[in-house]
Point group: C2
Chain length 329, copies 2
């Protein structure tokens, strides 16, 4: 999800902890983990801490070295991970990185073991997930999409929610593994439906957050205090997660990004990315999503106005702090 690039080859990775167990049973082979960004590093660390042998790969040497210090084994390519592990988890920024890691020259599918379970926790478009699943199946491997919600905090705490799309017969094995990194593991349906659930949720989340921001800004300009109005919304029909848990107005709640100058949390650029995936899916399926489309354009515009790295709740600041548009006399 964050900050990882797989287009260059990392050199100088230590292989001293690396050992081959190709003949061992699944439960005894290491778990593979590819993609050690803000999310992936914490997820892999949870696997290590909770007793798994884990073999990792990332294009950033520092990220690999950090995991090695925690006790992970190290590989020099996705292919080398896949050759060692019967279970591989990937956590990457976008569809093109996932395609590279699975289908590239040193990709997972070039060396995947028969019967291996491949779980991609990146947020990508459902069509790409389905496509990779077919190619994995051609190599006698099982692919599932399992994007997450909860962000960096939940990744660290091991309390992520996984939305899993994949074959029901293989689901228990996936759940077993994912439970070491999350507290909720939900099977949504066949391959691709994990991604579908994620982009539908995030489209609704963006719409709700902008709606809450509009309502709280309008209410204040009409003389109503933001805390009072939030309290009313939260026991009324406008109630939503963006109003009762992640309120975008500074000072209404402690411990949320809005009370920390919109630092931390889920970045505007990432929200814009997910809204773009929702728009691609809407177009492909001829589904009208008027508010999702406008939300996409609002978050895209915010990225151009300096909000890209701010939490997505900064849409409140974006809408409320522009200069007055009172026409000059």
């Amino acid at each position: 999800m964050l900050g990882l690039r797989v287009v260059r080859i990392t050199s100088g990775i230590s292989l001293r902890n690396f050992s081959r167990h190709a003949t061992l049973k699944s439960s005894q082979s290491p778990v593979g983990f590819i993609g050690l960004g803000n999310m992936g590093a914490s997820m892999a660390e949870n696997l290590v801490t909770k007793g798994h042998r884990v073999v990792v790969y990332d294009v950033v040497p520092e990220s690999v070295a950090a995991l090695e210090k925690k006790g992970a084994l190290v590989a020099s390519s996705p292919a080398e991970v896949a050759a060692q592990a019967d279970r591989v988890v990937t956590m990457l920024p976008a569809s093109r990185h996932v395609q590279d890691v699975y289908e590239g020259p040193n990709g997972i599918l070039s060396s995947v073991r028969g019967g291996a379970l491949l779980i991609d926790s990146s947020t990508i478009d459902p069509t790409t997930a389905i496509d990779i699943s077919k190619k994995a199946s051609d190599k006698a491997a099982v692919f599932m999409d399992a994007p997450v919600s909860g962000g960096v905090v939940a990744a660290k705490a091991g309390t992520l929610t996984f939305m899993v799309g994949g074959d029901e017969a293989e689901y228990d094995a996936a759940k077993d593994l994912l439970s070491f990194m999350g507290k909720n593991v939900i099977r949504c349906g066949n391959v691709g439906t994990g991604q579908t659930a994620k982009i539908c949720n995030n489209m609704l989340l963006a719409v709700s957050m902008i709606g809450v921001s509009e309502a709280l800004n309008l209410g204040q300009r009409l003389g109503l205090d933001a805390k009072t109005l939030s309290g009313i919304l939260n026991i009324s029909t406008g109630r939503c997660w963006s109003s009762d848990t992640y309120n975008p107005v500074p000072g209404v709640f402690d411990g949320v990004p809005s009370s920390n100058d919109y630092n931390g949390g889920f970045g505007t650029a990432l929200m814009a990315k997910d809204l773009g995936l929702a728009q691609v899916a809407s177009t492909e399926t001829l589904s009208p999503t008027p508010l999702g489309s406008l939300a996409h354009q609002i978050y895209r515009t915010m990225c151009q106005k300096g909000y890209a790295e701010k939490d997505f709740s900064s849409v409140y600041k974006y809408l409320s702090t522009e200069e007055s548009c009172e026409p000059k006399q």
Copy 2:
């Protein structure tokens, strides 16, 4: 809120139960109630049932006769109600009806008693409420806006939520009376803030409902079951009242309008009205409300497409059941 017009004078209203108590103390004078539509009739009936003497007025003789049968006293104009009652509640369709009932030739303010408490539970624009409040004050009366949420069902059950804008010193008296018609009475601030809370909540509600409808339609077209996706949204960051309590997809929940062909509930035309009030307020206060504005246009369009009397959750049907837009070869 519904179906009452105050522009014509009703003739032939029986006055046989009508008695004057101008010299009695407040607690002994009847409560006035003007506006016996779907909402007002149930609210007035709750006052009668719970032991109040109530003097009513409406332009529709049948509505008055129905309340008289339940035990209400009857007046022939708003002025006649106001002459009898130290506390008057009004429940009318829109700003112009409220202005007529208060400021018209036979209006409340033409005969209001000194120290009377006037509570308007209609949904109107905050500016009108503030304006009437000033005129009431000139007559030594106290005006409060107290719009409701909960709809016809809550009006019948006496479980409405009242959002009250008015002087703090007079609030307890208002709360005492409103508690006979609702279970939640919330003071929002000074006059007008009840209306502000209502239109901000309903703008957010409309945005959420359309967002849920878009997400659930998109998800289904991508192969995800509506019940499954709703279950995921409801434990995720997209969670909102429109998804977890009032789901718009037929069959996901029992006992909501979506499972009754979108009958009952809160009509699309009423939602369009409230969104119009929000847009007027947005314009007056120079507040950007991009999603609120688009929601307004969507509900206005739905009114022109046969959805005016359907529950506002029918936006799901509107978005999901149009003919395919696949271009012809």
